[in-house]
């Protein structure tokens, strides 16, 4: 085919080949030619003005771009909203190109349009999603400046485009110490952390922030998305639950204390009774026996008060990052000789993948000591041959777990497990019942809980659950102090 023939063919076919709706408009804004795509999209065009054909209007658009192009001869690209054949609102991407005569005067305009209604709808949906999603979303650049924020964020933290995220979230003057966004900029990964911010109203806001890279194929990450969920209410509920648990423990403490006091009173009443009978009978031996009982029980009162005061006063937890398995091995070391002498197999089953954890080592040491010493006592009182006490460590659902299990049958199946959980003493005159009470108190200070299971003839199983999330906050508290 010769170039001349090609030109001729293109002249007639070009309008149809182009994948756009094409219309040619004259200076009176009349559509003088259009391709079949245009006709399919807008219907009959012959004898119509462009505003009639495109938008079904009776007069020219207020800000008529075609007229501007006729005037300045410049090409224009813009979004236009028109009506399709069914009268529905439709979005078009329009390109206006001037067609000039030989003397350079713009005589016609070629209007090329493309229906972008679907992508516009998607964009609108995305914007609604972005603005209304019930969490805070910001996009930050490498300077940690907020370049975009959603409605929820703006409502809570203020309209803050261009400000530093640490300034807006926390009113800080420099980047946060444990900044997850910095990690994302550094390694391109997704990072999550719990943070405490300040709203524009000056209230504290607890939130969990997840940072993820926003890349457009660049080698270096230019932007990071921060998505935060407000957990202030959840945190408050958590505090209420902890407070309720604390009050329940106080109730049990009082009940345990009342039991101890009643026993002492029984001894005092007994002493008084025996002294009084002895006096009546002039029985010196009885008087001496009664007096001895009185003395003993006054002494018990003193030590109970001392023990209780030291329990109530407690000690400040000293948090350190330690390997929980090391603690267990210390306990094993401490009790191995005693266990060996009694023929009890004291062993440890450790999860070696456990990471270092912020704990109060002295506190947890006391807890494990109490549990192991009770377990050994329970085994001592059992007649079995294969008695054992086992300390286990493991990770489960974001929790660090310590377990102390024994197969001593000294546990009274119906009662003693309750006694252990509710902290009464069963050690006759010896115990004050504060050992397990102290254990529970320490565990609660770590934000955890202690659970006991016991079955008839199968010994006892104590489980300390320490949620890692709460342990982390222990370390932060320590840092703040």
């Amino acid at each position: 085919m010769s170039p001349k023939n090609l030109d001729k063919m293109l002249d007639s076919a070009l309008m149809e080949i182009i994948p756009f709706n094409v219309a040619i408009i004259d200076r009176q804004l009349s559509v003088i030619r259009a391709n079949s795509r245009f006709e399919k999209a807008f219907g009959e065009w012959r004898g119509k003005k462009c505003y009639e054909a495109y938008k079904n209007l009776n007069s020219a658009c207020q800000n008529c771009r075609a007229m501007k192009t006729f005037t300045d001869g410049k090409e224009r690209v813009m979004d236009e909203v028109g009506r399709d054949l069914n009268g529905r609102r439709a979005h078009y991407l329009c390109h206006l190109a001037p067609i000039r005569n030989e003397s350079g005067e713009v005589v016609y305009i070629a209007g090329l349009s493309h229906d972008i209604t679907e992508s516009k709808d998607r964009e609108r949906e995305f914007n609604i999603f972005f603005e209304r999603v019930p969490c805070y979303i910001t996009v930050i650049d490498r300077d940690y400046k907020i370049i975009r924020a959603n409605e929820r964020f703006r409502d809570t933290f203020g309209d803050t485009i261009g400000d530093y995220c640490y300034k807006i979230y926390k009113r800080r003057s420099s980047r946060c110490t444990h900044c997850p966004a910095a990690k994302t900029f550094n390694d391109g990964g997704t990072h999550t952390s719990e943070q405490l911010g300040i709203t524009k109203a000056g209230q504290n806001a607890d939130y969990v922030v997840t940072t993820t890279p926003l890349t457009r194929g660049e080698e270096q990450i230019e932007h990071v998305i921060e998505i935060s969920t407000d957990i202030t209410e959840m945190k408050m509920l958590e505090k209420e639950v902890l407070e309720a648990e604390r009050l329940a423990a106080v109730g049990q403490t009082v009940a345990g204390l009342a039991h101890s006091i009643k026993n002492i009173l029984m001894g005092l009443e007994g002493g008084k009774y025996i002294v009084s009978v002895g006096l009546k009978k002039d029985d010196k031996e009885m008087i001496a026996q009664g007096w001895e009982m009185l003395e003993r029980n006054f002494e018990k009162t003193t030590s109970l008060v001392k023990d209780f005061l030291s329990f109530a006063k407690g000690r400040l937890p000293e948090v350190q990052s330690i390997d929980p398995n090391d603690l267990v091995m210390e306990i094993i070391e401490l009790y191995k000789e005693i266990a060996k002498k009694s023929g009890i197999d004291l062993r440890a089953e450790l999860d070696n993948t456990i990471k270092k954890t912020p704990l109060d080592p002295k506190g947890i040491h006391t807890c494990l000591t109490n549990l192991v010493s009770n377990a050994l006592d329970a085994c001592e009182m059992s007649d079995k041959n294969d008695r054992f006490v086992c300390i286990k460590t493991k990770e489960e659902k974001g929790m660090l777990i310590f377990e102390v299990t024994d197969n001593g049958c000294g546990m009274d199946c119906d009662i003693k497990r309750k006694i252990f959980t509710t902290f009464f003493t069963t050690k006759g005159g010896g115990g004050t019942g504060l050992g397990l009470l102290t254990t529970r108190k320490i565990i609660q200070e770590h934000g955890g809980k202690i659970i006991v299971h016991s079955k008839k003839g199968e010994g006892a199983h104590f489980r300390i659950e320490l949620p890692r999330r709460r342990l982390k906050s222990l370390l932060h508290k320590e840092e703040e102090q």
Partner: protein
Amino acid sequence: MIQKRNKILIIDDEPDAVNYLKAVLCENNIEGISAENSKIAWESLEKDKPDMICLDIMMPRESGISLYVRLREDRRFAEIPVIIISGVEPAGEFDIYKFIANKKIPPPEKYIEKPIRVENFIKAINEILEKEILKHK
């Protein structure tokens, strides 16, 4: 009212509670014998049946509640009247009545909280012993 010198077994791990109860019983012409835990108590019961048992709840190794259940389930001792004497509230966490509710065994004859009142204690013993006499007539 008490016809012959009765014998009561006191099961309690607190020596002062035992001394007190024994002294009160002695003053009322009742023989008091004691056992500091359930094992010793069982041995004593097998040797010589008492007329009544005073039983503590919070004891090491085996609690009074568990021992009470065993006593009631053993034909040899099921009929011996039992007074629970404990520092634990009867309706609290260690409610013996709840523990025995589905065990088809009768409740203890009496529940007395520590510290005891001597008059109430003796009154309860006399009432129970009188009932026993009537039962066996």
